[in-house]
Symmetry: C2
Subunit: 215 residues, 2 copies
Amino acid sequence: MEDKNISQAVISRLPRYLRYLGELKDSNVERISSQELSELMKVTASQIRQDFNNFGGFGQQGYGYKVSYLYDEIAKILGINKTHHLIIVGAGNLGQALANYMNFERRGFHFKGIFDSNEALYGKKIRDMYVQPMNEMEAFVKENDIDIAVLTIPKTGAVKVAEQLVNCGVKAFWNFAHVDLNVPDDIVVENVHLSDSLMRLSYNITQSYEEKEDK
Amino acid sequence: MEDKNISQAVISRLPRYLRYLGELKDSNVERISSQELSELMKVTASQIRQDFNNFGGFGQQGYGYKVSYLYDEIAKILGINKTHHLIIVGAGNLGQALANYMNFERRGFHFKGIFDSNEALYGKKIRDMYVQPMNEMEAFVKENDIDIAVLTIPKTGAVKVAEQLVNCGVKAFWNFAHVDLNVPDDIVVENVHLSDSLMRLSYNITQSYEEKEDK
């Protein structure tokens, strides 16, 4: 594979390319030049060419990019043609929202179960899955080859639960708990710290107001 | 203010500093050296010093940082001592989850109302707020000095709703809709594209598996 050592900045931009290419595909657009893609996505054409060059190009001079080919290649790089087994730990509002809202399967993530320590939730059905007690989680993870856990539990329990899951074979976390997990280096962690995002928003508003006052 | 032209990378790290400093404060820790903070946060001490130097330092040689002072200064930079009025547009699972899950008020965001186009939700109470119809949104925004909108609606309607809100005076968006908004440059947009995050996770898992196979 050529896609070793690509910067996380480039990787971070790939899902957005995939989103636009998916929409073009859905609209039956077959080809697009880097100039057209640039105008659509509001990034420079040279940025697009540079990003795609990381993976060997995908384009032909004077022809532009073939949309469906480009889509498939980026999908492959992102690994969404692979199959993963996923559980959600934490069946509160956020866990339920993600279960219902995310189209996990479309990206190769098979939603297999949801767990919570709150007895009141046991037996509740969330997207065709009954909420299961936490003490059945370990056995379930081993039996069902679960490789990904979505953590939507409060930060107090998250570090310990993550360690427990790593011991059962979980390889990756989509972590919404507002804490940094303490897991070995070969375990993948993608943090979504919503509070941090809200604070970036707060900062940018403050800056934007001050700039206006300066004028 | 000294905090002009600070890179978004530094800004992005500030909420994490604030989180750790908040926990230290809660544990009654009064002072901390950059070395200790470095070990706790698993970033280099020189990174910490560099980041804080962007804002004039905060530290004294041989004394370390005073936790509560540092916390307050970073909070000020992030603007979370300011007051904002916020509505949530979209009362589905995600909108409800954010309403219930986020401690908006703690960060100066006052949650004022929630809107949806789904009649079945009208009158439903979410965190002490009744869901209101979309056609009452414009008047509400003007009457209540709303400056921030959280968008948790499907991507098909989001671009139009955002334009409508800008016309009523909304200055910033926390955008969960899976689409890029088309708003003037002076409007602040903080995107949370959960699907993009899930794809980064997918990519990093794929890479991590391939590295293991290579060994």
